[in-house]
Amino acid sequence: MSNAGGSGGGSGRAGESRLRYPSNGKTIYHRPLNRTKTAELSKAAFAYLFAEMVSYAQRRVTGIQELEKRLNLQGHPIGLKLLDLLLFREPPRSQLRPLNIIALLHFIKINVWTHLFGRQADRLEKSSNPETPDEFMIIDNEPLVNAYISVPKEMSQLNCAAFAAGIIEGVCDGAGFPARVTAHTVGDTSGSNGSGGTGGAADGEMWPGRTVFLVKFQPEVLEREALIGAKS
């Protein structure tokens, strides 16, 4: 150990004590907290916790929009931190943050989703509406967060996956792609404004909980994307 000197002079040692890395380069941040082989977490424990999060968020809100906003805010910091962690865990050569929209969305669809939910998201789509080129959709047929949740009829516009939308928003913001992300139940006419309706009705029968995460990037992101595209 470096502090074997034993004298009381703390100021002298402060310079030499630094973060030590194991010889194989794998730090504690490379390991999941759960050490077992299958690395499973209790879905029931998460369901109870999330149910309490929803009722906590519901306690002081007046409307559904505000409730979704609160759930979104609960997820946002997770996304910010998760981006750093997941990039750090990548092999050193590919430790690059996504530099364009497509790479970012693929990163979310594959890495973030696998880390959080144990599988990839089901589909990635670009808005077919030419008026909204800044909108992208990540589609999950049965979001894990909604596994046990039935939303009452009077709140039919609510989708509790707003929490997962908050996580996505955090990842986008952290990567330098400021965006607004909202969760919509397919078949829900409000909010989807026609852009997400391609074949949604037929599939909606099979996947009643199907959720579309609408990622709307800020205009400056699109502007930058256009500049990068023109240069290369």
Binding site: A44, M155, G209
Partner: protein, 160 residues
């Protein structure tokens, strides 16, 4: 073999869920009658639980006086009360959970494995009702997800 309908009664004797799976098996009752049925059954169940003849306490070795280490204190099983009610045309099985919720399953008299079905329903209840943040305890169950899973489970049994 058919499952006719399911009734769930909360621990206060109120009807919180009622669904018919098979038309024509049982006569239709009005909503009010279902409420009365639930309340009556709850009362009868409470009485039958008291009626239960006292079982003779199991013989205990002398060393097992309470408070002496080594002796295992055993609490007798709580009396179960009414479990099955059978008539010419239907069979009613009652499953009373440890928390006092009652699941009543009406089937025809030839239905087998009713306790397995009812346990599965209890499982669905604890998943899709108790884990739903919008469900208030002791209140009527209005959960789409529960309805959907229950219907597909029962449909599978009825089509077997």
């Amino acid at each position: 073999m058919t499952v006719f309908s399911l009734v769930i009664i909360n621990k206060a004797g109120g009807l919180i869920y009622n669904r018919t799976f098979h038309e024509g098996g049982l006569n239709k009752l009005s909503t009010n009658d279902y409420l009365v049925l639930a309340g009556t059954f709850h009362g009868v169940h409470a009485i039958t639980a008291r009626l239960n003849p006292v079982k003779s306490a199991p013989e205990r070795p002398l060393s097992n006086t309470p408070g002496v280490p080594g002796g295992i204190l055993t609490r007798p099983e709580p009396p179960s009360g009414l479990e099955v009610l059978e008539s010419e045309n239907f069979r009613l099985q009652c499953f009373n959970t440890l928390t006092g919720v009652k699941f009543l399953l009406f089937t025809d008299t030839t239905q087998t494995n009713v306790d397995v079905i009812i346990r599965r329903i209890y499982e669905l209840y604890s998943d899709y009702v108790m884990k739903n943040p919008f469900y208030q305890l002791e209140m009527p169950i209005r959960c789409d997800m529960f309805d959907r899973k229950l219907l597909s489970h029962i449909r599978e049994i009825n089509n077997r």
